[in-house]
Amino acid sequence: MHRRGVGAGAIARRKLTEAKYKERGTVLAEDQLAQMSKQLQTFRSHLEAFASKHKQEIRKSPEFRLQFQDMCATIGVDPLASGKGFWAEMLGVGDFYYELGVQIIEVCLALKHRNGGLITLQELQQQVLKGRGKFAQDVSQDDLLRAIKKLKVLGNGFGIIPVGGTFLVQSVPAELNMDHTVVLQLAEKKGFVTVSEIQASLKWETERAKQVLDHLLREGMAWLDAQAPAEPQFWLPALFSELHGHEEPPAAP
């Protein structure tokens, strides 16, 4: 019987066929890449046209930015991934958010000694706007959140913790697990929390509650009021501005 597919000749033939397939495969990829390159150029000019009409809108309007970001997310595009991307280049979205990132870092650093690296999104917004000056563009909370999400990749501990309808922004690499987060959320209502409250609301044992509170104390995110009437109160400086709003301190006598 004539055996097919064995022998030096068969091997050589197979190699040749494989090589041909390989070549074709490369050619296929080449074609597609060439096509993508061309389409990219086309897209780029569309983006350019869009930018010439609406670039200002992006810079001036937080609502428009939000719409823009949402749409990008929906189709699977990250306009902030790289300063070298078309979006940053043509629309200038990049510069807006990257600069915001720098401002966020600076604000958090400046206030860290006071709040241990935790700050409400609202206070962060106020401080950032203050630093930007009177003539700078408006910055929404959504803008801040997006900038912070990008900053995470720098390994500096930036994180966003949802509490009572808003967010706390963490800016230090302290480990905050679910337990810590839940206690923060509990404390958000009054600005402080006690062991009894944790036990009542979360049904934890004393030990667990104490561990969490101690951790927050150590990180400087909570302050202890040992002289509170009923039992020690653990206050979050991050929430102070929320509580006291714009109260003026009493004038000295």
Partner: protein, 385 residues
């Protein structure tokens, strides 16, 4: 009230505003009408009333229609009024709110006062009859589609201009959203195409050349699409990141030396972007460039601590040696917290903490973790056993 005509409230050429008063109600003779609260304007040619809430609602009557006017003093619960007696409406009068009226006079009720001044001015205008010597054209029909010149003077004119601008802005915004949607459609096509290419690559299992991989990655970079093959964005980076890495090596040399050879990536991000001013780096750009530092044999390197904190060090920098120095410092003082150490040595608290943690990891320091803070002591267990 049938002598009034609808108007835009814009003054004509040659028409000048004389006085205006808020809080004026109109009455048709003795009867109240729906023109309850408005601004009354007196110009050289007309008496104009505009609703305070709805600026679109604006009516006017030519001063030439006025026969005579009289004052009506305020009473208990009644505002002062001016009664304006009018000629019958002319047949070619522009359409107004009322087709007919059984009264030949109207009353202007000054709920927020001002009627004395207004009466005086109105009398003056009626006497001087300036409208006769300053002829104006027929009221112009303002067409919205002509974005062109709307010649308007006076406060009424300015307000109307603002309204037009607001409408224009609204129009712009909806146009912007429309254009945005169209743009996103096109962007979506790009995403689909990149997915199909990525699939082809996966099928071929590495039959794509290195060169093509690099090209593909740079295309993804332009569009902001995550690399669907490797799942990480830009993994080993692109040509751009290589260039960037080299640039960074140049820029950061001096700052690093000034800071004891080590800087957190956050610090680097701020430093570099503040210096650039424009065309800033994204955080991802920075990280991807830094990841290439070592392989490009540049004099800096990226280091990631256990805590996740990322730093850039000079190649010549040896953190382990610094630990020995740290140990000495801590021993001198007996014990130190990260804050204290940072102040002493002149480092950022973040990096000070990392150094102390590293020293602890190497066994040189012990920690005392209490609610008063994290304090480090020389590890006597090691040295004095």
């Amino acid at each position: 009230m049938d002598r009034f005509s609808w108007t835009t409230g814009l003054l004509e050429l040659g028409e000048t505003l004389v006085v205006q008063q808020r809080g004026v109600r109109l009455s048709d003779g003795e009867e109240k009408v729906k023109f309850g609260s408005g601004v009354l304007l007196l110009s050289t040619h007309r008496l104009i009333w505009r609703d305070q809430k709805n600026h679109e609602c604006c009516i006017a009557v030519p001063l030439s229609q006025i026969v005579f006017i009289e004052e009506q003093a305020a009473g208990i619960g009644k505002s002062a009024k001016i009664v304006v007696h009018l000629h019958p409406a002319s047949s070619n009068k522009e359409p107004g709110p009322f087709q007919s009226s059984k009264y030949s006079y109207i009353k202007l009720s000054f709920k927020e006062h001002g009627q004395i001044e207004f009466y005086r001015r109105l009398s003056e205008e009626i006497t001087q009859r300036r409208w006769e010597s300053m002829p104006t054209g027929q009221a112009m029909q303002v067409k919205d589609s002509q974005a062109g010149r709307i010649r308007a003077v006076g406060i009424v004119g300015i307000e109307r201009k603002l309204e037009e601008k607001r409408k224009e802005t609204d129009k712009n915004i909806s146009e912007a959203f429309e254009d945005l949607s169209k743009l996103m459609e096109k962007a979506k096509e790009m995403v689909e195409l990149s997915k199909s290419i990525a699939n082809k690559i996966k099928e071929k299992q590495g039959d794509i050349t290195e060169d093509e991989t690099i090209r593909f990655k740079s295309y993804l970079l332009s569009m902001g699409i995550a690399n669907p093959v490797t799942r990480e964005t830009y993994g080993s980076g692109t040509e751009y990141h290589m260039q960037l890495a080299k640039q960074l090596a140049g820029i950061l040399q001096t700052p690093l030396e000034e800071r004891g050879g080590i800087m957190s990536l956050t610090e680097v991000y701020c430093l570099v972007n503040r210096a650039r001013g424009l065309e800033l780096l994204s955080p991802e750009d920075l990280v991807n460039a830094c990841k290439m530092l070592e392989s490009l044999k540049l004099p800096l390197r990226l280091r990631i601590f256990d805590s996740g904190v990322m730093v850039i060090e000079l190649q010549s920098h040896n953190e382990e040696e610094m630990v020995a120095a740290a140990l000495e410092t801590v021993s001198e003082k007996g014990s130190l917290t990260a804050d204290e150490f940072a102040k002493l040595v002149g480092m950022s608290v973040l990096l000070a903490k990392e150094r102390l943690l590293l020293a602890e990891k190497m066994g040189h320091l012990c920690r005392d973790d209490s609610v008063e803070g994290l304090r480090f002591y020389p590890n006597l267990f090691l040295t004095q056993s």
